[in-house]
């Protein structure tokens, strides 16, 4: 499965949900914003959203401080 994540091409050999992808990338699910094919993905849907080849994903991991 080919995914474009933050503008870069990535290849995965198995099916992944968004939650599994975040875990692969060691991102904290409560601190990220996920945009899938230009739409914001509600956090409660990460777990049952299956990614498919060609998906374009923008990931923002926030860090603390303000």
């Amino acid at each position: 499965m080919k995914l474009t994540i933050n503008g870069e091409s990535h290849e995965y050999h198995e099916q992944l949900t968004v939650t599994q992808l975040l875990s692969r990338l060691k991102l904290r699910p409560d601190q990220v914003v996920v945009e899938l094919n230009r739409s914001i993905l509600a956090p409660e849907t990460h777990n049952n959203t299956e990614l498919k080849t060609g998906d374009v994903i923008e990931l923002v991991q926030f860090v603390g401080g303000g």
Binding site: R28, D30, Q31, V32, V33, E35, R38, I40, A42, P43, E58, V60, Q61, F62, V63, G64, G65, G66
Partner: protein
């Protein structure tokens, strides 16, 4: 000849002196400035001189302030800024700086929400004063903003922001500035706002702690309506505290992005 009096163009006789101008235009003025220099004796004026006449202790009216801003920023630009309605979620290091920058440029309306009070440890980077310690931040900030430009409409709400009240608080604004401290709160607000307000812009910040190089702080456009300012990685943590200069740089990236959006409907 043409001169400028208090930023307004004025035709005067070519032999007109400073004191003659004062006597006809602003008798009570006790501070006279020509081209940036305070002047304490009468002298002839020259074409193009920029004369400022002030009366010490007298506050300029909202109309005068607006005219001064329009003269500085050009009337077309000022009109757009004045129509802007901006929300600020969080009145800490980011939010207090963003609010001050936007009020200085003459924003029409700000809606500021925070539930904290001013603590001594905030003074290392937040725009509050010693005598405001213990006050709710939104009240202290409103006081400070009104001392800068009383013509701006400042709505304040002393409460915690969550999915249950975001629509009520920020339903009427054009652009929201995310100015929280905690990473999960930043993500919560961004997720909720972008999903629920398809016509509004969000300007968030992430990565601004410490004293790493200034130039690693950048503004990026994550998607059509979502801008992010910061270096993306410098979290506040033990050994890397939040400090005024870098927090201020990120906050002013946010404020400038808001300004671009108000004027051009896009930012870079």
């Amino acid at each position: 000849m043409q001169i400028y009096l208090n930023e307004k163009q004025l035709h005067v006789d070519q032999h007109c002196t400073l004191y003659e101008l004062r006597n006809t235009q602003q008798k009570n003025a006790d501070l006279l400035i020509i081209n940036g220099q305070p002047i304490e004796y009468d002298q002839p004026l020259h074409p193009g001189d920029r004369v400022i006449m002030l009366q010490r202790g007298r506050h300029p009216s909202p109309e005068e302030l607006e005219r001064l801003l329009a003269a500085r920023h050009t009337p077309e630009v000022q009109q757009k800024i004045k129509q802007g309605k901006v929300g600020i979620a969080g009145a800490g290091g980011l939010g207090s700086h963003v609010a001050i920058a936007l009020v200085r440029v003459g924003i029409g309306q700000l809606t500021i929400v925070d539930f904290d009070v001013v603590e001594p440890s905030n003074l290392n980077r937040q725009q509050y004063f010693i005598d405001q310690i213990g006050k709710p931040k939104v009240m202290a900030l409103k006081e400070n903003l009104q001392r800068i430009n009383p013509a701006c409409r400042i709505n304040i709400f002393n409460q915690k922001i969550g999915p249950e009240n975001i629509k009520g608080l920020f339903g009427e604004i054009d652009i929201l500035v995310e100015a929280f401290d905690a990473a999960d709160q930043k993500a919560m607000l961004t997720n909720y706002f972008l999903a629920n307000f398809p016509d509004k812009f969000l300007v968030a910040a992430s990565g601004l702690a410490g004293y790493e190089p200034s130039n690693t702080i950048q503004t990026s456009r994550v998607s059509d309506r979502f801008y992010l300012c910061g270096d993306g990685v410098s979290a506040a943590e033990p050994g890397r505290g939040l400090m005024a200069p870098r927090v201020g740089i990120a906050a002013h990236h946010q404020a400038n992005t808001v300004l671009q959006l108000l004027i051009n409907q896009t930012a870079e």
